[in-house]
Amino acid sequence: MRKNYSKKYVLLCAFLMMSVMAFAQTGGIKGTVVDDTNQPLPGAAVSIEGTTIGSSVDVNGGFSIAHLKPGTYTLVAKFLGYIDLKKTVTVENSVVIVNFGLQSTNASLNEVVVIGYGTEKKKDLTGSIATVTEKDFNTGDVTTPEQLIQGKVAGVSIISNSGAPGAGSTILIRGGASLQGSNQPLIVIDGVPLSNNGIAGAANPLDLINPDDIASFSILKDASAAAIYGNRASNGVVIITTKKGKSGKPVINFNTQLSVGKLTKEAPVLSAAQYRTYITQISPDTSFTNQLHSYNTDWQKEIYQTAISNTDNISISGTTGKLPYRVSVGYTDENGILKTSSLDRYTSNINLSPSLFTDHLKINFNFLGSYVKQRFANQGAIGSAASMNPTDPVYSGNDFYGGFYETLAPTAGHPETVNTLATRNPLGLLDEENNRSNVYRAITSLALDYKFHFFPDLHANVNIDYDGSNGSGFDDFLPTAASQQPGTADANGVTQFGSNHNYKTTQGNSTIEGYFSYAHDFKSIKSHVDAVLGYSTQTYSQTMFNYATYFSNGEQYPGTTPNYPFDLQKSELASVYGRLNYSYDSKYLITGTLRQDVSTRFAPGIRTGYFPSVAGAWVISNEDFLKGNTVLSNLKLRLEYGVTGNQDGIGNYDYLSDYSLGNPSAQYAFGSTYYEMYRPGAFYPGRTWESTATTNLAFDFGFLNDRITGSLDLYYRKTKNLLATTNEPEGTNFSNTIVANVGDMQDKGAELSINAKLINTKDIAWSAGVNATLNRNKITSLTAVPNPNFPGLPQGGIAGGLGNNIQIDQVGYAKNSFFVYQQVYDANGKPLNGVYVDKNGDGIINSSDLSVVHSPDPQEYFGINSDLRVKQWSAGFSARASLGNYAYNNVASSTGFSSNFLSPNGIVNGSSNVLQTNFTNPAYLSDYYIQNASFFRMDNIHIGYNFGKVFKNTGDLKISGNVQNVFIITKYTGVDPEITNGIDNNLYPRPRTYVLGLNLSL
């Protein structure tokens, strides 16, 4: 805890020093607060019991309270992680000296953890809940909240979807429990459960939240912890708590960061020199070699830039009167390394947490508001840059197509006619598209916690939350863009160019909850009971507006008038839940929860789900034989079982087979009259809750007076009534496949996390944490009745050919496993183009010879981080490793063969892998392209210096430097092995970022 002496406390002390100067010679108390090693405890608080009078402790451990009337007072010294100490003092007309020596507690165990509908001390937990608080957050250029805890928690995999500004992440807790249902965990911000719906114009809904406003994350991983959230908890729950006002005088915190992002690695394609040699070598005639020009263009260099970004946050928090408050504003100006991609974000957070009626009514009001302005780059430019002929120039020297060089197909009288199927100039693609969005979002929550006057053990809580957003934007193509050739005929048959399309989605999601909570210590029978009983109703509403498309001259594009001005999507959930905790003698803990959920996404009669859980824990270290043991200072055994539900990732109205009207470009004519078609939707009448049962066995342990703490969890998770795509018997439905409750899937896994305070003195603090996760996923059934002939469900569409899939969901294998031909190699180990192993030995190679190999998901993954503080210097790193994850190198498979280079639409570049394979023709489904993508990535290295007071008595200043995405060790040959779905196809590359940060507290 010592390294936690944050700038805020130091700053408080500064204010205190000022008040010392004004100290009058009347009655008062002063003294010092130190720890068991006699080191000062700045940031501790000393107050007079029963009043609001008090003082913070300064850097030297000193405190003072002035202007006291003579009398006897009870002083309390408090500090997080230490046992409260009370002393009685009698004050007359002079200053009394009182010194406190605080005893450290098992700090980590007394930590209060946010759980569903309440908080609990870590030592009393029965479920698998991981918490990460501010002090352990990742530092540096963190623009979206989930990046704060990347690599910090065992069992939680957070992979950024790309390097684009504001790009989201795929968060998977224990690998995700569903196939076609959602695999995203439920995210709850200050009690507001967020919808999984994307927000139009925002790359990632979480990106509307300023990471700087976040105080802590609680991750409910197992069913017993998550079951209280029942309906949306199958993939775990992430509870985010924002920062609140602190008692005392206002503290102003300002931080600013400047970051510089750079491309780490170009996609491996032929250089201009290699390209000339190669084309000359493979070309059958001059019609191809004639297209080699004299330029040496590195197209990738052309489209990427050094991205300079900055972030500024300012917050003020304190208490005015009896009103604790925190107000913050933040501004982020982020530029992407792909030219034309950028994001501007303005955020504001207001938190008010007054207590009324002598603390009987606690009110917490929270407002998170944001405005994000974004420009999306045309990411097609990434593929174009890898494909464009490197001997072509960037600019043509004439005015056609914005001056960008393009591959032409001259026609009589029109030498400038563009070849519309040729690879487009990547810089032109970026420059000639203007795709911008404006997104507003406000999350407002009001929580009332009333402690009954006549029965203080009982609380009544009411939460009212609203999450509203409005995302809109336009996607505009210049009429001069080569991509707009050859134009489209308007209603009068005149050819028009350019296009403009608007989009807009509004969302309003509300939650109203009420619950009673009861807690009581029955000291006589050494028992503690707490209970929660509540209800909640959630409504989700999303309105997607439909607009016509227009040419650049404002005229409407034919056939684009929408049938409906908007599409309204609604769903509602109603729930009743209860939880009972009982503990005996702080040794034996038992928790039971039950939640009933009703979802309007299912047909009446089958829309109710029940989600129970039960968990027990035995605190072995509180038994007599271990009590007082400082080597094994904590040992707890937990056993948990619970069931959670999932109804995300499916449509709102699917159980109704309604008819939808085709759009105006999908009409059919009888005679000369065109009719918009009424299409019946598929039937999903029997679809209901997907449920996931998890069994968890865990040990929590602490050694050496808890300088080393950790947990080991073993889990077995089985998803039943899996929401999976299944083939519908043909002729019985209006779709050949439906998403229904068929099949089962299981995950077996283990998680280990260890945190250690290796050195912990006043001048040097060194801590380290490691976590490891092992997960084995297997689909155990995909059909309503067992069927060994079921061929599986193709997944993972790829670039190359039409309709090719590289993955499959098949019984007996992990979800999304690769499904490929086994490549045959010659004596020299060179792959033979198009020669595969005849797996079934029928003498022919066809789709019956495809077989399952490898999974895109890691078999094991690890996080490691360490922080060292030496006096005012601090340094640290965090890194992640992933083992056993495979990736399909779609860039190599779709471009690394000679017939690709000799495209009839103009020669193109491609993967330099072709020099190894010498492939002539594509081999999309060869296992040659399934590569081991295990990696070790140094996510972050940082160094900081704490100047302490920079002004006379105030102004705590800290300067830090970070490097993010420092290096990666991998055998994978593509740009980046870390790909969410395992299919590597021109991902927006993750930059390496250098960050300079400054933090000032006043």
Binding site: T411, N419, Y515, L573, A669, E676, M677, N727, G803, P904
Partner: protein, 544 residues
Amino acid sequence: MLTAGLLAFSITSCKKNLILTPNDQVTQQQVFSNPASITQAMAKVYGSFALTGNDGGSGAPDIAGIDEGASDFFRQLWLTQDLSTDEAVYTYNDAGVQDMHNMVWGETNQVLQGLYDRSLYQITLVNNFLQQTTPALLASRGITGNDATTIGYYRAEARFLRAYQYWVLMDVFGNPPFVTENTVLGSGLPPRIARADLYAYVVSELKAIDPLLVKPMQNQYGRADEAAAWALLARVYLNAGVYTGTADYADAITYASKVIGAGYSLNPNFTQLFLADNNLNAGVPGGGVATQDEFIFTINYDGVKTQGYGGTQFLTHGSQGGSLENPADFGVASGYSEIRTTSAIIALFPTPPFTDGSHFPNNGNPDTRAQFWYPGQSLAITSIPVFSNGIAVTKFRNVTRAGAPGQNTTYSDIDMPLFRLSEMYLIYAEATIRGGAGGDAAKALTYVNLIRTRAYGGSTAGNLNSTTDLTLQFILDERGREFFWEGFRRTDLIRFGLFTSSTYVWPWKGGVAGGTGVGDFRNLMPIPESDLSANPNLHQNPGY
């Protein structure tokens, strides 16, 4: 606490029966309650021939698990019927596509699954339409008079479309699942129907609807009439031996004669058959100012209002590539360099006087049906993925007779005839040669020479002189010339016993450059594994 519990309970109860409905969809009852929306439902029954979903191009597909652009009916039919033969090779490694020409398709082949799914999807739409428009239901919804009469025609046409799709399934897959308007939708496992039983069903359905359909050439363009049912009957009877083991050439002659006698006539200019304004070849209301009436039944596309990536869009874009890249000639933005033909087809035609591209589109060939492009292309195919290997095709072009481009250079205006008059002439001739009762050899010769004269641009230079020239081999070759790339070839080669045999080989037949025979079991395609695993009533065709 009690009140809270009660409140909680009442809140969940009121949600238990809450029906939220979308603002932009309507219920089945609403659709089938008024004649206008019933017509729109019928538009979907027809439209699922041409379109792939509810959005033009792509975006809201009917069929899952397949690239939407390739999921239309005719493209899948073409890949099955023409790519599997001497008529075409295909450049790209699209899912399952190369297996078709290599003749190594298996039970998980995506092309075959796509065709099977599309055919059964349309059949399911038909069954639903029939269930929702029974005379009793119409009467109960107050739909009477002319509206009821029109809907009565729709019902007969829906049954025609179902019979047509069952013909496709019978021809390609043999023994598919069998569903009718008596099948309850939304559940159940349809029974399998054996090929011979399906044959009997198709024939009986077509005969049953014959009197219920609009008279020949009297219906709106795009809708089936009585002649369409006759034409399908003629085609089914011609292949009866393949489907049932018992030939029935007499009935083929009967029904082909009925169509021929209904008043259709050939367009003297063959090159006008597959152009953007080829609706002018249909002598029925709405087809434009009909100059000829050769088309009996068509799938209709429109570059603006009926947009899709299948059918004639695929044929026009797919056949352009290499030096055959002239948007002005094709009315499309750019070719896909995708499909070409083999030397076996080129050999069916006379040698053209020019191969330099100067006499577009048929190189001055006396047989004007030889619409090919030679510059930059080689007759020999050494590598299937290389577009310049093989001869390019200029038959399908999205330009009007006057040479103006189609309405939209990404999509196609060309309608695809499923039945043309010349097929009836050739059915008559073939059935007659094969000894069908009632056939007249002299008449057969006349019919064949009508086709030949039209092919030779009005000249009789290509005419057969006597009925002795009218051999079966000639008929097969003539069908190859007349119906090139129109989705007939596989069925024809099977009827002639040449599809799998080593007697007749073509480049890359069986995956070998010189061509080789394959197992006879490949005369039937496999039932897709996706449906076999979903429906235990089905079983796989022998050999797979």
